[in-house]
């Protein structure tokens, strides 16, 4: 009932919005996004720069709430045939959007509007998350990040350890020793992690080139099934659980707020979270030095794969006019220019999506001054993504992440063994995946 009320509200709102704007002069492009406060201002600045750069098109940005709310607003609008041109959707919504029948794939849009885009110039680990099995780009990457490891340099020093390398990841065995030393030196806890499903299972699997789900992580068909009950992941979860005994690892909550609070309060020496957390930590941490290192890997993994991204991309809706699509294409290309990407990266910490922009920043010495920012890009870019490490393409992915969260929490609080929890997570997720498959068959 709650949902239907929202539908009505969104529909009414869209009616009002469109009636007001239908008579204006330049071709209007509507972009609904989920960029709040500081990030929202950055997005507004980029929109203004585009509008000032030419007079044919006018982009109108609208903040629609968080990712869920924005996606729901887009869905309601499409159902009411009042969809915007561009909608920002978070990465877990990729499969739903691809199958929606409501979108105009970006690669097709660029072709139809005679825009010759050199896709090789983009960060491949970012693009691959939004490509179909044939390598065609469905949506334009916008804000992308990847998890990295933050650590408290002062606590490390107290425990007799120096700084970690920014290029070569430590092994999980070394992590065991490092967290052990931290706890022995009197720190309350060793490691906490934000977004456990994303960092400890999804990214852990990608880095070790281990499938998360069958059929190439779902890229090759809706008949995909989760395979996270494999020995590698099982061993990792068991290890984390065993570290809980002397608090070398402890649980701080599903999202990032709890774990971050533990890191800031120096209850934890190491904290795994998105690279976009740099800005927040810079603001919040005043009384100790911290640094960033790549995510740990297993010893046998001599050449670890790329990590995978989180974030959101821009989807173009169907059923608009041709000249409007020209404007959409022009705007998307404008966003990918060096100038915009460099500005975006500097202000928000999200990756620049093109190699050109990355090189240009590098040449200007930006990463000498801000070495932390580069750790994520290097980790993401260290190998060409394989069919396993390019991303995940699952229906009901939000629910699956919830299931994984629930099952892991039961491992952490001793209600279940790691084996049982991963089995149950796979079983429950597969039920969801079958329901999703049935919806589209």
């Amino acid at each position: 009932m709650k949902i239907s009320k929202r539908f009505i509200f969104a529909t009414l709102f869209i009616f009002v919005l469109f009636e007001m704007t239908v008579l204006a002069a330049p071709v209007e492009i509507h972009w609904w996004h989920a960029m709040r406060s500081a990030r929202g201002k950055v997005a507004d600045t980029m929109i203004k720069a585009f509008n000032d750069s030419q007079s044919e098109y006018k982009v109108i940005g609208a903040f629609k709430g968080n990712y869920d709310e924005t996606l729901n607003a887009g869905i309601a609008a499409f159902r009411a045939k009042k969809q915007p041109h561009i909608l920002q959707v978070f990465e877990v919504g990729t499969q739903t959007m691809m199958l929606s029948g409501a979108i105009y794939p970006v690669h097709q849009l660029m072709k139809d509007t005679n825009n010759n885009v050199n896709w090789d110039n983009y960060l491949q680990a970012v693009l691959s998350y939004y490509m179909d099995a044939d390598g065609n780009l469905a949506s334009m990457p916008f804000n992308s990040s990847t998890p990295v490891m933050y650590y408290n340099v002062d606590l490390f020093k107290k425990a007799g350890m120096g700084r970690l390398s920014k290029d070569t990841p430590v092994t999980w065995d070394e992590m065991g020793k490092i967290t052990g030393k931290l706890v022995e030196s009197g720190v309350e806890g060793g490691l906490v992690t934000a977004w456990q499903s994303w960092t400890q299972i999804e990214n852990y699997s990608a880095i070790h080139n281990q499938l998360f789900a069958s059929k190439a992580n779902g890229y090759e068909g809706l008949g995909t099934e989760l395979v996270i009950n494999n020995p590698l992941v099982l061993n990792h979860i068991k290890r984390l659980k065993s570290w809980m005994k002397n608090k070398r690892f402890f649980y701080g909550g599903q999202k990032y707020q709890g774990p971050k609070a533990e890191f800031i309060a120096q209850n934890a020496g190491i904290y795994i979270d998105s690279i976009s957390g740099i800005a927040k930590l810079k603001k919040a941490v005043k009384d100790f030095t911290w640094d960033v290192a790549p995510l740990p890997v297993e010893k046998f993994m001599k050449e670890p794969q790329n990590s995978i991204i989180g974030g959101a991309s821009l989807w173009v809706f169907k059923k608009h006019k041709k000249k409007e699509y020209k404007g959409v294409a022009a705007f998307l290309r404008f966003l990918a220019t060096n100038e915009m990407q460099e500005y975006w990266h500097k202000e928000t910490g999200y990756f620049p999506i093109t190699l050109n922009a990355y090189k240009s920043l590098s040449n200007k010495g930006y990463y000498k001054a801000n070495p932390l920012q580069e750790v994520g890009i290097k980790q993401l870019n260290r190998r060409i993504p394989t069919t396993i490490s390019r991303g995940l393409r699952l229906g009901y992915f939000v629910q699956i992440r919830n299931i994984i969260n629930e099952e892991l929490e039961q491992v952490w609080n001793d209600s279940k063994s790691a084996e049982q929890a991963l089995e149950d997570a796979v079983y429950r997720s597969n039920v969801k995946l079958r329901a999703f498959e049935n919806t589209y068959n």
Binding site: M1, I3, K5, R6, D68, N72, R428, T439
Partner: protein, 304 residues
């Protein structure tokens, strides 16, 4: 609730035109139909379909969504959690409200100031109430939590421990509802004739005895009304508390039905299942309310 009992006789007014009364209530009926019945009907219809969020493929599947729900052991667990949560919240909110009302009613000085203060929490939105309690009880930055852990030596951890989490959401939900209950109880108490309690006091009845033999029976209509309202409140409106405090965790131990509807429908975009869940929720509430009226109301004394 209380007004019509005290009106000694009923005045009747008649409309000349037969249609005028219907026209007068038309706006209200239209609003109710559009904003309550239409969405509810939509929910019923959606519950029988399996459809993608964009509404491109819809299949009529009879009661498959319901069958899938009741096959899911976690859904049944969520029903159990909801009942536990509602009963705890209602009992806590009603007993505290009643206690405070009794005390405030006896207060000699600053009666109105005390009452106003006690009503305040009701003006706080459930989500904010959740945040406030989180600030108190969060294991890493909650002030009270640190006291519990350091001074009392209890291993308080609602992030990991399901029953701790349940305690926290019950506290946050009940706290807000106490004020609401307080208002009704105090109004109810004021309508009880002073002479009754005074007479009992002269006969030597202790304050406890007076409360249980006079005040409570005479408050029974209020108590009944509040029980119904509190159960409905804890079934539906506590969404904000759960959303801000636990998000249904840890391990699904505070995942009440209304939160699951939101999770599956709004976040997870599974409209069929989510609609089926709201239909189940609606049915549950109807059954509970009917049962209350059928069995509990008989014991209620409406006249003093």
């Amino acid at each position: 609730m209380l007004l019509f009992e005290t009106i000694p006789m009923i005045k009747r007014a008649y409309f000349r035109s037969k249609y005028l009364p219907y026209i007068l209530i038309l706006p209200q009926i239209l609003i109710t139909l559009t904003f309550f019945y239409w969405p509810a009907l939509q929910g019923l219809v959606h519950a029988l379909f399996r459809s993608d969020p964009f509404g491109q493929n819809s299949k009529f599947i009879w009661f498959e969504n319901f069958a899938a729900l009741f096959r899911d052991p976690l859904y049944l667990k969520s029903v159990g959690i909801t009942f536990l949560f509602s009963i705890c919240t209602a009992v806590l909110a009603i007993s505290c409200g009643l206690f405070l009302a009794t005390m405030a009613n006896r207060a000699l000085k600053g009666k109105s100031a005390i009452r106003t203060m006690l009503i305040w929490p009701y003006a706080v939105a459930p989500a904010i109430s959740g945040i406030l309690w989180l600030f108190l009880l969060h294991p890493s930055f909650g002030i009270v939590a640190i006291f519990i852990k350091k001074t009392l030596g209890i291993n308080w951890n609602p992030i990991l421990n399901g029953s701790d989490a349940m305690i926290m959401v019950v506290l946050a939900s009940a706290w807000k509802e106490i004020s609401y209950n307080f208002v009704f109880f105090i109004a109810g108490m004021q309508s009880i004739p002073k002479s009754l309690t005074e007479a009992a006091a002269i006969d030597g009845a202790s304050p406890m005895r007076r409360f249980f033999s006079i005040t409570l029976p005479l408050l029974s209509p209020t108590l009944f009304f509040l029980t119904v309202m509190n159960i409905i409140y804890s079934f539906f409106e506590t969404f904000g508390v759960i959303h801000t405090v636990t998000q249904g965790g840890p391990g699904g131990s505070t995942n009440i039905l209304v939160y699951k509807v939101y999770q599956d429908g709004f976040v997870g975009l599974d409209l069929g299942s989510s609609s089926a869940q709201s239909v189940v929720l609606m049915t549950l509430i109807i059954i509970i309310t009917v049962l209350q009226f059928k069995y509990v109301e008989k014991k209620v004394q409406y006249t003093g």
